[in-house]
């Protein structure tokens, strides 16, 4: 699946702050193949590169809160394969357009 910004339109109208988070998310996804080799399953903080890695979501969020401005666009994310998440069980069916 192509996870580039052009391929995936936003579901909601993004704020300027969320646009920053989107840019960092796309950077993270570009780096994901390498991160899967080195940090699979860990929670990381990403801001223009890997900032820190943790065993739990709570620890990653705590590090981000203590070290980076909340409006920096930093990403707190688990290093795992990216697949679309179903918002409904009906997503499994092909509806006529």
């Amino acid at each position: 699946m192509n996870l580039t910004a052009d391929a995936l339109p936003p579901l909601v109208d993004l704020t300027a702050g969320e646009e920053k988070v989107l840019r960092q998310t796309l950077q993270f996804e570009d780096a994901l193949p390498g991160l899967l080799r080195s940090h699979a399953g860990r929670w990381i903080v990403w801001l223009d590169g890997l900032r820190s890695a943790h065993d739990t979501e709570e620890a990653a969020r705590a590090w981000a809160a203590d070290n980076l401005p909340i409006d920096s666009g930093r990403v707190v994310v688990r290093v795992a394969e990216r697949r679309p998440v179903a918002l409904s069980g009906l997503a499994a069916f092909r509806f006529k357009p």
Binding site: M1, L3, A5, A7, L8, P9, P10, L11, V12, D13, L14, T15, G17, E18, V21, L22, Q24, T25, F28, E58, R61, A62, A65, I70, D71, V75, V76, V77, R82, R83, P84, V85, A86, L87, S88, G89, L90, A91, R94, F95
Partner: protein, 151 residues
């Protein structure tokens, strides 16, 4: 219309208090910039892999996105939406004294509600902490916190 009719028509809903995630809540409290929680009606939706809240509600509460994930909707369109760390306070009854318990959760931003019947959904990521019993004849349901689940 009795309560049972409403439940059958609108589906099982949980009413709770939505707010910042516990860490952000503690920080806001420390600096005296606490946002009041918002009462939300959330549909119990076992078809949803992840919980979600109206994007406008998330922004009004001051929730800050952690990332933007790809999601697939009922039309099979794959799109991106922000993920917000948040906390949901629920009133728990049953064994022992009734208590208010705070659950951290991640919620994706959803488009505006068409019906206004509820503010968001509780998906399987949140519901895995509970056992669910649904009484279809009158629409009642029970969520029981699993003894091996942590809030």
């Amino acid at each position: 219309m009795g309560d049972g009719d409403a439940l059958r028509e609108q589906g099982p809903q949980v009413v709770g208090q939505l707010n910042l995630d516990p860490r952000a809540l503690a920080t806001a409290l420390r600096v005296g910039r606490l946002t009041p929680p918002r009462t939300v009606h959330l549909l119990v939706d076992t078809g949803a892999a992840i919980s979600g809240i109206g994007h406008d509600i998330a922004l009004a509460l001051g929730l800050v996105a952690d990332e933007l994930i790809p999601v697939v909707s009922v039309t099979q369109a794959v799109m991106r939406t922000p993920v917000f760390p948040a906390s949901l306070a629920l009133w728990l009854e049953g064994d022992g004294a009734p208590r208010n318990e705070l659950f951290p959760l991640r919620m994706v931003g959803l488009p505006p509600s068409v019906s206004g019947a509820y503010d968001g959904v509780l998906g399987r990521d949140f519901l895995q902490r509970f056992d669910l019993r649904y009484f279809g004849h009158d629409g009642r349901f029970e969520l029981e916190l699993r003894t091996d689940a942590t809030a």
